[in-house]
């Protein structure tokens, strides 16, 4: 009996507040917009027969006919992929240096990487607005250095979105790579060097392959949330920055077209299934390798 309650309570909670809501999203994505509250035509209220008769894929057809949507999907994928690559290039040297730092420093360094994760995401994105604006600190600094003659426009461009994603997700990249490098046996690199590898070759042939799991895990941890990102493109991006999270938000709050917003969500979910499954498989393989 105790065991039953223990399983049933969290199970029922997740069913009611996680799984059923998705079924509803799916259902509404197949219904018509209506001028009422809630603004969609109800389906399934008249039983299962009319339910199937009333189903239509109009909203999905609409998504393919208006090129705003597929452009937003493609551009989200591109922005997420490019910023993941930049985060990797920025994060790897930091993780590497942390793993090479004296042992007594490492807990402090770890804490310094984790600390920003505890501070509000919104505030960390907001901090960049003052830095990247026309009269912001970056432009002041570059003008003072004399590198540029007049202020650059960075805020409200896609560049600012890249900076924002790299900045906020950097800890997610550093931590798994650090974990992999920290476990790495230094004698393997010495062996490679003894056998005639240059330091660069040893890095390329030994260190990188042995930290592969960390690289893969970190990349997914950045790519997956970046794809559906809303706060960063809406605060740092401009009108030219198309990202699907922002499109969904606007479709819902500004256009009040709930069926189309739901259809956007369903397709985003279908796109995300691939990286999520790959990520799960990578984690599982790693767990199996360790035991």
């Amino acid at each position: 009996m105790q065991r039953f309650i223990l399983i049933a309570v969290p199970y029922a909670w997740l069913l009611a507040l996680f799984l059923i809501p998705f079924v509803i999203v799916f259902k509404i994505s197949l219904s018509d917009i209506a001028l009422s509250i809630p603004p969609y035509a109800p389906i399934l209220d008249d039983g299962i027969g009319p339910f199937f008769a009333a189903l239509d894929f109009e909203n999905f057809v609409f998504l393919t006919s208006d090129d705003l949507y597929w452009k937003a999907y493609v551009s989200s994928l591109r922005i997420a992929a490019i910023s993941t690559a930049i985060t990797l290039l920025v994060g790897y040297p930091i993780a590497y240096a942390m793993a090479r730092a004296p042992e007594e420093w490492r807990p402090t360094l770890m804490m310094l990487v984790i600390l920003p994760f505890w501070t509000s995401f919104l505030i960390r994105v907001y901090a960049w607005m003052g830095i990247l604006s026309q009269e912001g600190f970056l432009n002041q600094f570059l003008l003072w250095l004399g590198v540029i003659g007049e202020p650059l426009t960075i805020l409200n461009t896609t560049t600012a979105v890249y900076i924002g994603i790299v900045y906020t997700y950097l800890p997610f990249m550093i931590l798994p790579i650090f974990a992999a490098l920290d476990r790495l046996d230094g004698s393997l690199i010495e062996a490679a060097e003894d056998l005639g590898c240059s330091r660069l070759q040893a890095f390329w042939l030994v260190t990188i392959p042995l930290s592969k799991n960390g690289i893969v895990a970190g990349s997914f941890l950045v790519f997956i949330p970046a794809l559906g990102e809303f706060v960063i493109p809406s605060l740092l991006g401009g009108s030219g920055t198309l990202m699907i999270g922002k499109v969904l938000w606007e479709e819902f709050f500004n256009n009040r077209d709930w069926p189309v917003a739901s259809a956007v969500a369903v397709i985003l979910l279908l796109i995300l299934v691939i990286p999520i499954v790959l990520f799960q498989r990578n984690q599982q393989r790693q767990a199996e390798a360790e035991t």
């Binding site: 809501p21 920025v90 090479r100 607005m129």
Partner: protein
Amino acid sequence: MNRLSWFNATSLTLGFAFLYLPMIILVVYSFNESKLVTVWAGFSTKWYGELLQNESFLDAAWVTIKVAVLSSTFATVLGTMAAYVLVRGGRFLGRTVFSGMIYAPLVMPEVITGLSLLLLFIGIGLDRGVITIVLAHTTFSMCYVSVVVSSRLMTFDRSLEEAALDLGCSSFNAFRLVTLPIIAPAVISGWLLAFTLSLDDLVIASFTAGPSATTLPIKIFSAVRLGVSPEINALSTLMIGIVTVGVISASLISKRKSVRQQQEEQAAARAA
């Protein structure tokens, strides 16, 4: 290797400068006299004064704290139960679905979670307000709690529980007297994680909050959309300060506790 090469020292310096400079600039300029946020005009705390007089911010802060305390407490209870089921529950019908529902919210885009919950609340006719935000936050943070707690449960020696059961404890008492004290640090850090997740959340709260309840992130977001303002800088500084003090003191306390535990174990070993 004990000394850092110049390359490693440079990447550490640049890396941490990149992570911390934006926040340091924000904190420093919250004490700026001028309304122009990027021009320094002398030290002043007047923006903090204005912030404390702004009632809509104070109201939002109160709602946010209420939501965070309630949702993180529910999430800790439910998440610990879920972790226990995942690690110790054995086989039961629908186990795969259950573990899927625990891990899926961790990678789900917030816009989708928010949208789906809102459609549910409207579907069942629940008025949007503090209750709906608490329900939404509990749902996603219980998954984080259960990940933290289950990783502790996995490394924990099961024979201790079995000994308690053999000595006549009921399974509930064995949990309360043996398991819970041992996993307590993980449960506490789960609660802290759930609390900060709830404090931070903008997207899910925007979908599930009604006109009667506005949280601080929603308030900040609508102010920030219009541009940088010294008042928001002051508010951000307060929030950064609270989190920093909280995280550092939590880690110091847990460090001291683990040192004491080690000493006790050594003493026990000597006594034996």
